[in-house]
Symmetry: C2
Subunit: 302 residues, 2 copies
Amino acid sequence: MLTSMKSIIDKALTLPRQTVAVACAQDAEALTAVAEAHAMGLADFILVGNTDKIKAIAERIELDLTAFELLDARGEACGAAATVQVVASGRAQILLKGFVDSSVLFKAVLDRDAGLRNGSTVSHTVVMDVPGFDKLYLLTDAAMIIKPDLATKRQIVLNAVKVARALGNPDPVVGVLCESEKVNPKMPATMDAAALVEMNARGELPGCRVGGPYALDNAISEQAARHKGMKDPLAGRADILLAPDLAAGNIFYKSLMYFAHARSAGVVMGTRAPVLLNSRADSHQTKINAVALGILMAAKGA
Amino acid sequence: MLTSMKSIIDKALTLPRQTVAVACAQDAEALTAVAEAHAMGLADFILVGNTDKIKAIAERIELDLTAFELLDARGEACGAAATVQVVASGRAQILLKGFVDSSVLFKAVLDRDAGLRNGSTVSHTVVMDVPGFDKLYLLTDAAMIIKPDLATKRQIVLNAVKVARALGNPDPVVGVLCESEKVNPKMPATMDAAALVEMNARGELPGCRVGGPYALDNAISEQAARHKGMKDPLAGRADILLAPDLAAGNIFYKSLMYFAHARSAGVVMGTRAPVLLNSRADSHQTKINAVALGILMAAKGA
């Protein structure tokens, strides 16, 4: 089982080389990531976007573009659509977001005619390597689905389980995060949690073990769970952390990045090819991490 | 302006000595905190609860109880009610939660006859000292109010502003946390954020400057805000972080404690005396921090 971001990159380097299409590559951090990932031997890249701007940025940051295919597409919407087409046609196996608004990119990815939909619920899972912790946490959904209902939460979990499997974890523990560890009708997320646990017990949510509702401490700390007198054998042992909604998931994700200095790699699942979503404010290292995770996911055919 | 948990304790040591009533003091971590805080000269304590258990625990952890007043009250509900009475009568100025469920304690605190209500909205603010950051963040509400509406959010902010003032910050910046930094009708918290900003501009939310909606990175990192092209001069400069709801607030709070190794001190405002709420899983140091914050709040008459 992979337990660090470095081990994800090391594993990706052992897999057959794949091609990543970068949507709107006219961004210094994205181009730095592309150059570094290519130099490491991680992947090949097709740079889609405003080629004039791409060349100007490359010159400014002294980057050699000769190893990359460039594909001209001006404007965010056009760049996103052209990148989706490159992936849909099979010329690239992975899509990496560059300097484009997530909502614009998703319009292209989710387009029912030209897009990458495969009929599944599309959700985002981010892998977190937090300093001082000897395991990877998978957090979902911190980027896409605003207020998931119970059926959507089930799909979000199933998508995250695929990511866990690509990381070599055959039986991940899902911790359903809530306001409290008690089922409380005033807190609907706690009722969803109880339902997810029961669906898991009945075989309706396979491939994982589901525990909850948990406050965050009960999900990740066996000691905190014991101190509260919890008997649940999964308490404190979560691998996948399911957020109650996007606000909680996004704030949690960003608190790990900014306050706990975590390294992360995010991937969108439920599409025909992995889509690597990241914030434009992310560092190039975060983008390299995402590429490595995308390679693992694409190799699994997930 | 105080910028660390240590400076809160140092400041509390300069203030007139006050008395803290401990609700259900039959807990090793609580008694260790009480003994340590007393030895430091931080406060005097009245230990309310099961005196047999209190004495047995004190013996086990080799703790001298002679300096403390003991008040026998068996059972959580009874212990909570008796502690509230000690504070309401003026024998103690601050209430510290011991080994009692928060919901039981709050029933006693909020009791309209015997309790500590003063007519205000009762909400929780937690002061966070995160390693590597040279300021204190105030986070609210991470413990009490499940789904605040706009009017309640305004009251929660006003309560937190009192805490900021007790810490010597006369003009705190409130960052309204959301799923995104854009106002989006599909995300009601972003509309609340825009309304709070406008209420602040009109003088209807005084004593602070309000910015938002912010994703967490835009609230605390000027660099992240700039990279996203935000022009808002308050972006990245928040002192008080207002969570969209309890789930997000509690998960954020616990992620700072468990993943970012923050030190915290929590206080309930909107009551006639500061009520120090903490998790039973918290360390005795967290309880000492809360006592120090309570002393600052009680000294302000807040």
